[in-house]
Symmetry: C2
Subunit: 362 residues, 2 copies
């Protein structure tokens, strides 16, 4: 087992012990990857103080045995035994009678069957211990996120010359996605957003046949995925010359992002960071057009805690990787968003995404 | 509302009524698309005999109102009211006190909150009524699956000249994926499988840096997605000349697929179709190396019911779209799989995937 997985399991077991939890059942694919290095599907894990069980079936058992060093990989015969029966057997063998499970990660139907077939085990929903540990990225995680970010930076640089009037949102997205994959992205971090003109104001637009015209705002929001980790970056450009309103939006968002970056460091609350950027947008007259949050954690999932809203009291800590992405959105007119991924450090931050931020395309 | 959605809702309401179900809560994204034409996220639906509610929040309300003609779209303020409170309000307004919900599509945690906040409603898990309706594809669904299949056929024809010794699995997958997207696929149906040599025996391999060599078996399994629907096709080739064992595998699988196609029609059981193909593989000496099922339904989900195993007693009906994909897998040596999508008809089937099936690359 790699050192980082030993460390993660040690921390998780300490949380379990201090909370009186004898065993934890994991369903979340991201948590299985974080704790067991498992990247397949159709699996769950049982963790006690002295045992590590990864339960899957014939389709994924070879992959599990290759990936999950130090784990006991159980190949369940789905015709012969239910998951609940396997879980009951493994827990009772360990003398465990009380266990916690990830209630946000299993369906009502599946859980009803597991609980019914594991009679003798007293189950309780588990706190988000693994998600708590995942906030702080270790060196191996940081290296993967940096690789994702570097791929996205390079792909954008290679694709940007195609961003000329006449190209459609879907065409540009395809070119950008192709380059990310060719540069080593195992997958896209999420479905690329390429919003032109009035469509740049949509927070979740699907690339369309809309073609780029002079005077359009252009919002590109995209990322690469490597080893299960993700990057997430947004750039906004103007096709041709901006009008006064577009320029004002861009100036406000640039200054809001810089203001947030100037205050973030270990110890600041998410709320304080958000309000710092939000105040700049308000000074520029965009209080009502600002987005709902400054940013979010990013790692094995695209959107991780903390979600940095004005109400989020959580303290940012060294080692967290978060997006800083203030935005201004005017329905029917357009939007401006600038987003970078940063590592929080003791006295500030380290920038992980490095694409330049010109407004005008050259 | 389009005619097909009216028909689907009429059928669903008839099932609800005959089962004494006053209201049904839908969480499945595929079912929301099937019933309400909704393609966004973060939504659920409430269906009664005279009301249709689509519940989402500010991020997706515009999309819901554009897509869900005939539905009442409710924009929930997530700061002010829980989903359970909204559901309770809407159901009590309709005089409903008993309702069913999709227990396989909501997490234990989310459901606990909904059930707690909708006091006064008596909930029961719903049967898979919508999934039952989705087995039989209507004309609009069939047209979309045909378009997906045609994109995959064309992309393969364009990419096949690149399948020469020296190209890696990942490189070929990228070229194939790029062409599917360029030809109009909104997304991939699933992550493309390109297994070379011994890796062709893996049922779920991720494209690797493994390079094609003379004598390798090559399994390509891929599909396109349009409008939420999917295609799913596998072809197997040999790089250069096959040895006797490779040729025997290919002959067995070809004949098994033809045997299954010769018997499928409205009225045959999934089991009978599977056993027909399985018997051919056994005659060729591959009884122990055959895959676990002949195929599966395909539509809004990649894997839909019926899953055509030797134990599946379900009767295939006209209008079902299923894959026919016998395979032989020899760990450490290689695999052969041939997969086509077919529409079941009264007297046989209609082929939806049309790529030729040569064994040798020319």
């Amino acid at each position: 087992m790699k050192q980082e997985h030993q460390t993660r399991l040690h921390s998780l077991r300490a949380l379990m012990q201090s909370n009186g939890c004898e065993a934890l059942m994991i369903f979340s694919p991201a948590n299985l990857r974080y704790l067991a290095a498992y990247s397949g599907e159709a699996a769950c894990a049982l963790i006690t103080q002295d045992q590590l069980h990864l339960i899957t079936d014939y389709r994924f058992i070879t992959q599990a045995e290759e990936e999950c060093a130090g784990w006991h990989c159980y190949c369940r015969d789905r015709e012969a035994e239910t998951l609940g029966q396997v879980v009951q057997k493994l827990l009772l063998q360990s003398g465990v009678r009380q266990a916690a499970f990830e209630a946000a990660e299993v369906s009502v139907q599946n859980w009803a069957q597991i609980a019914q077939d594991s009679a003798g085990i007293q189950w309780t929903p588990a706190p988000l211990w693994t998600e708590q540990l995942r906030r702080r990225k270790d060196a191996s995680e940081l290296a993967l996120i940096q690789r994702c970010a570097a791929i996205a930076d390079q792909a954008l640089a290679e694709t940007l010359p195609l961003l000329c009037p006449g190209i459609s949102e879907a065409e540009f997205a395809l070119e950008l996605d192709f380059r990310m994959r060719r540069l080593g992205a195992e997958a896209l971090s999420f479905e690329t957003i390429t919003g032109f003109g009035e469509r740049s104001a949509l927070p979740h637009s699907i690339p369309s046949e809309r073609r780029l015209r002079e005077g359009d705002l252009i919002v590109l929001d995209f990322g690469a995925s490597v080893g299960g980790y993700r990057s997430d970056m947004t750039r906004t450009y103007i096709a041709g010359e901006p009008d006064a309103r577009q320029q004002a939006m861009y100036n406000a968002v640039t200054q809001a992002q810089q203001a947030a970056l100037a205050v973030i460091r270990d110890g600041i609350s998410a709320r304080e960071a958000d309000l710092t950027a939000r105040a700049v947008l308000a000074e520029h007259g965009f209080a009502q057009q600002a987005g709902s949050s400054l940013g979010h954690g990013v790692g094995l999932c695209l959107h991780e805690q903390p979600i940095m809203t004005p109400k989020c009291e959580e303290i940012l800590r060294s080692g967290y990787v978060v997006t800083i992405e203030p935005g201004v959105y005017i329905p029917g007119f357009g939007g401006v968003r600038l987003e970078d991924d940063v590592l929080i450090t003791e006295h500030g931050y380290q920038l992980l995404t490095h694409s330049p931020q010109p407004f005008r395309l050259t």
